[in-house]
Subunit: 376 residues, 2 copies
Amino acid sequence: MQRTNWSAPEPVFRRRLRDRFGTDDAAAVATVVDVRGSAYRRPGAKMLFEGTAATGSITAGCLETDLADASRRVRESGEPELRSYDLTSDESETWGLGVGCEGVVTVLLEPLSERYRPVVEAFGDRRHLGVLTVLADETGPLEPGSRAYYRPETGTLEPRDGSTRDAWGGQTLLERADELVARGRPAVTTQTSDGRSLRVFVDVVEPVPELVVFGSGHDVGPVVHAGTDAGFRVTVVGFRGGVDMAARFVDADRTLTTAPARIDERLDLTERTYAVVMTHNFVDDCLTVERLLASPAPYIGLLGPTDRYEKLVAELDPSPGTDLERVYAPVGLDLGGGSPHQIAQSIAAELLAVRNGKTPTHLRTADGPIHERPDP
Amino acid sequence: MQRTNWSAPEPVFRRRLRDRFGTDDAAAVATVVDVRGSAYRRPGAKMLFEGTAATGSITAGCLETDLADASRRVRESGEPELRSYDLTSDESETWGLGVGCEGVVTVLLEPLSERYRPVVEAFGDRRHLGVLTVLADETGPLEPGSRAYYRPETGTLEPRDGSTRDAWGGQTLLERADELVARGRPAVTTQTSDGRSLRVFVDVVEPVPELVVFGSGHDVGPVVHAGTDAGFRVTVVGFRGGVDMAARFVDADRTLTTAPARIDERLDLTERTYAVVMTHNFVDDCLTVERLLASPAPYIGLLGPTDRYEKLVAELDPSPGTDLERVYAPVGLDLGGGSPHQIAQSIAAELLAVRNGKTPTHLRTADGPIHERPDP
């Protein structure tokens, strides 16, 4: 649960990428490769540039203007480009939009072409993917920007851009890639052997966590919205006909109507499934929680007061081995506030905390750095 | 800090109310008066009905259809109407949109006419207001639905609908209204004297808390958005020209561009001002925090790592009496997640917790009921 790619792109980025991939319009993807300093997102953060539009974020506005220019060249040439920015000189220096930035940042720009297909596909399915990009290979055969994909399920490397498997060196790089993918930590790694020094950026694509909201009331919409902002792929499940689910929950990735008894057939409940149960119907809630408890879902949030949950547990009479620790009832963090949006925010905050293995507290009293530091 | 009207309407409701008030189109406001049961918002929750559209929320979909019908009558007649729904019979009973509801709920419907003006004005300014509505006065002169306003600054009662000051009874009702307004707790109160039993619903309108975001980077937009959802009136302050603030932050209630030294002139910093400082510029952050520390603002969130904040405090060298407990640096709750939206959610969660005097924790481990119970 603690393994999280801090730089996982936001839903809006993933959707836009999917929509644009394979169209005739040229687009380019910018990915943070290396960063030392403030006002930047971590390695792996991404932006999509197309025409005059951009989606996603990699800085608070420091480099976007320059990157937009560079992305035009990349879209025209079809060739990747590595750009480094050194803004260590003076913190009062402003760049572009007047947001003070300092430090050194390296960004990879590449065309949204066939070479990027495995990334687009990985965002859409449930597999992990390592994305290897050569930064420097001075005495070796690989050009900067060369690409290979690493598949952790099989431990295989898929070279692209005409590079060969041998050119990517020995087993050490694969082991390092495997480790970074397993830790969800995009980073630069340097492999040295026989006088060759190969610098590679290993990016990590992880399956997107799934939020399944059970309910169709007016309080569901804000939860869909907040869950999406929190980075979840959201499915809304209704148990009654007569509601146009897709029209009501336009922000959801998917909506479906079924019966509580058929949840298992219609949904693939995995260890990446976060569930929020808010049908407002006691029997439906009961049946739903029962099915979820039988699944490996790590988070089962239940709307409603504690005594209602106690009644529900008594009704379910779960077998002794059942892990009720996964049930968060009443759902959400204790933030006060009773509007649907405020409740949704308290649910999203709890989803993030559980997903990231955090004990919710003020950051100012939390131990350690806000983000784990990138590897040196 | 702990005094909060749990049922304060959401920003979208307040805006819509302001836009519709005084137009020729008839609209009606529904307000929850009394509630026993689940799936309902607390007393004071409101919805605006106009034509086929509705704004706000008072249930998860239980009564909206019936209320929409009733609101049509109220808009046509111009007369208020009290409606009670008893859905205790059977929890599997569904009503309207298929969301199980149980309990008894009473709703006041009233036209959005001149009689409602003090409420519309109170949402827009910074005064508290008590809104008194007669539910029953069987042996007295007041009709159900009769209205008076209570002004806590002056302790005065303003009768409406042709009722007289005397008809509203003695000092006891005013004292009770004063208490409910002070506690931010809309509730029904019964005053009995000389054989008269007067039942009055006291609604509470509170000043909306203000969020001021200092910064103009791309990371500000999500904070504006999340702060609005959290129920704050949001102002964005930029320190550099060249950025079309209003166009960039369309969700904000207000945007302005100034210099850090002129914050005090341009902004009214009060004990209801929550500030988030995210200029990404060390000098601007310093000057802004300095001004905020000299104000009564109860919350000063500062983006950036702890060591940067320590450098800032060293730079400011605040006088011994300065209350640095108000500074939340790094800003936000420790939820993990590094995308702009996730960071904004952690900030909104902290804003809610501080505003509501809550120690952030999972609701399932928090003491006491989620919402304070309405008075019996």
